[in-house]
């Protein structure tokens, strides 16, 4: 996974990888950001949980409604006040909201 490439996204504040359990494995932080490795570790754990929930919901939604197009999931994002975190698989990127390109961010974590 190329964290430096993810940090090239406009407004990227941090890029990170995590285990299937959500343990932070590697990270890069933009200098001057308020984010810390401790926050990234917590973020990674919540992202694993959110991806699992979203996956369950997508599966259930397709089964109940007959609509398709949700599975397999390609990512999940939480939009905070100042930044958004975009994750997929075992990597994620935190990007400042005023600069964010959501599609490029999702593509980056899918490639990661």
């Amino acid at each position: 996974m190329n964290l430096d490439k993810m940090m090239d996204l406009p407004g990227a504040l941090a890029a990170f990888t995590y285990s299937d359990k959500g343990e932070l494995q590697s990270h890069v932080l933009r200098e001057g950001t308020e984010l810390t490795p401790q926050v990234l570790d917590l973020l990674a754990r919540s992202c694993v949980a959110n991806l699992a929930i979203a996956s369950m919901e997508a599966r259930g939604w397709e089964a109940v409604t007959g609509q398709t197009g949700f599975q397999p999931l390609k990512g999940f994002s939480v939009v905070g006040l100042e930044w958004s975190v975009v994750v997929n698989g075992n990597c994620g990127v935190v990007v400042r909201n005023r600069d964010i390109d959501y599609e490029a961010s999702f593509k980056a974590v899918q490639a990661g």
Binding site: V39, N50, V79, G80, L81, D101, Y102
Partner: protein
């Protein structure tokens, strides 16, 4: 123009709606049945409360880290993406630039979600929100 109508005028937006309270008070436009819109509203409210709870935990680790209050969330599916900002949701196709356009409109139209999400959600009922909540 109302946010739901504005979203529905964009090619590639499948459905959009607004929900409040328990998630079963809702309005919507687009390719959903009443029952599916009700389910979508409950699902969106549940996820919104969940990520808000998580942001409060982040805040206890690093105050003012920039996450809280959460403004919304996105689930990127294989061909469909679900976006939720405040108490609005939209189902959109995965077309080039559509997600960015929809998120820009939703963030601009909904405005910044304030700190107390439950008050925001209950306020849609009218009447004395504080009495209903506390």
């Amino acid at each position: 123009m109302h946010i739901v109508k504005q979203l529905m005028s964009i090619p590639g937006v499948i459905a959009a709606g607004e929900y409040a309270y328990r998630g079963d008070r809702f309005s919507y436009e687009g390719a959903l049945t009443d029952e599916f819109a009700r389910m979508a509203s409950i699902l969106c409210r549940g996820n919104t409360l969940s990520v808000n709870m998580q942001s409060e935990i982040f805040d206890s680790f690093a105050e003012n880290c920039g996450c809280r209050p959460v403004q919304g969330w996105i689930v990127r599916g294989d061909r469909i993406t679900v976006c939720a900002v405040g108490n609005y949701f939209s189902f959109i196709e995965n077309r080039d630039e559509l997600l960015n356009d929809v998120m820009t409109i939703m963030r601009a139209k909904v405005g910044d979600v304030q700190d107390d999400l439950l008050v925001n959600l209950y306020a849609k009922l009218g009447g004395d929100t504080k009495e209903a909540l506390y």
